[in-house]
């Protein structure tokens, strides 16, 4: 029984994730295939939009993987092959958004908001620290002393 469990655990540990890329899609040249794999992991599937075409089992993702490999086999550079798909589907196919004027908000936004929030918080803290400097008046001191003096509990509660 224990041996069986061990075998099962080993088999599970060794099993890779199921691949969407089927053997008949793959290029014979391992170098080209490696390039194709790397590129297709950076390209968005238009059907299952949070998956790369390398992950997706959608028929369109299959077509796009094949097209990408055709381009590479025809001698395209990585940039040309990706550009071929961008020309058809737009920047949306790139899982890594390009750095250009209409994506500046995306790239700089988080840092800008952090800076603004940080500046706001710093101003607020400084304002508070200054307000806390004023000493208590005599009447306030007396009130504080009265409040902080323990006294016998008189009410029994109900």
């Amino acid at each position: 029984m224990r041996r069986l469990a061990l075998i099962a655990a080993t088999a599970l540990a060794l099993a890779g994730p199921a691949l969407a890329v089927t053997p008949d899609e793959q290029l014979k040249d391992p170098k080209l295939e490696a390039r194709a794999r790397a590129l297709s992991q950076e390209l968005r599937c238009l059907v299952c939009q949070n998956q790369s075409i390398d992950d997706s089992a959608a028929p369109l993702a299959h077509d796009l993987r094949v097209i990408l490999r055709e381009r590479l086999a025809a001698g395209d550079s990585d940039q040309q092959a990706v550009g071929y798909l961008v020309a058809r589907y737009g920047d949306f196919v790139l899982l890594r958004p390009p750095f250009q004027p209409d994506t500046w908000a995306l790239w700089f936004g988080p840092a800008a908001i952090l800076l603004l929030g940080g500046a706001g918080a710093a101003l607020y803290m400084r304002g508070r620290a200054r307000a806390g400097d004023a000493p208590l008046s005599a009447a306030e001191e007396a009130e504080a002393a009265r409040l902080m003096t323990p006294k016998a509990v008189t009410d029994k509660g109900d």
Binding site: L46, D63, R88
Partner: protein, 177 residues
């Protein structure tokens, strides 16, 4: 001034909230087309129905028209089909691109449901559609006289979409010389 600063976080929150609400209502499947303002990429497709003429990109000029991408395996196409037949009856020129299936299946679909298309071509491999940036069916391109893509509809044309968006555009394109 102090009051203004106190309101600032609330204002920022409301702005972000409105942004998210707009974002939630947008259909992520509707992506901007790369073809707007450009002619269709060249294609020459075999016919869907045996003995009919095929469909070539060069033919899609002369008058404003629709190019509808469809498939018999597509659910929403079934809903859209009666609308297309109605448009054909109104005199709208629609051509069909049968995407990613055997011509037999497309021909059977048209025989059973009626054929709203002036011409139709079978894109078995899907390559012609991919060249146009088609990511699913149905999709419809609105072409002007010169065959330039002016609008792309992702998903079925409903009577409302036709009346509010595409019909006014078609009228405008007809008025263009």
């Amino acid at each position: 001034m102090r009051r203004l600063i106190a309101i600032l976080p609330v204002a920022a929150f409301v702005i972000v909230l409105v942004g998210f609400m707009i974002g939630l209502k947008r259909d992520p499947a509707i992506l901007p087309s790369m073809l707007i303002g450009k002619p269709l990429p060249a294609f020459a497709l075999p016919p869907v129905k045996p003995m009919a003429a095929g469909l070539t990109s060069a033919e899609l000029t002369g008058e404003p028209r629709l190019l509808n991408v469809f498939a018999s395996w597509c659910g929403p196409c079934r809903e859209e089909h009666p609308v297309l037949l109605q448009l054909k009856a109104q005199g709208v020129t629609i051509d069909g691109l049968d995407w990613k299936e055997e011509a037999d299946a497309g021909a059977h679909w048209l025989d059973q449901n009626g054929d709203p298309y002036a011409k139709s071509g079978n894109d078995r491999t899907g390559r012609a559609g991919i060249d146009m940036g088609v990511s699913g069916v149905p999709e419809t391109f609105v072409l002007d006289r010169r065959g330039v893509v002016r609008y792309r509809q992702v998903g079925a044309i409903t009577p409302q979409i036709w009346a509010e968006t595409i019909a006014p555009l078609m009228a405008k394109l007809k008025a263009e010389s």
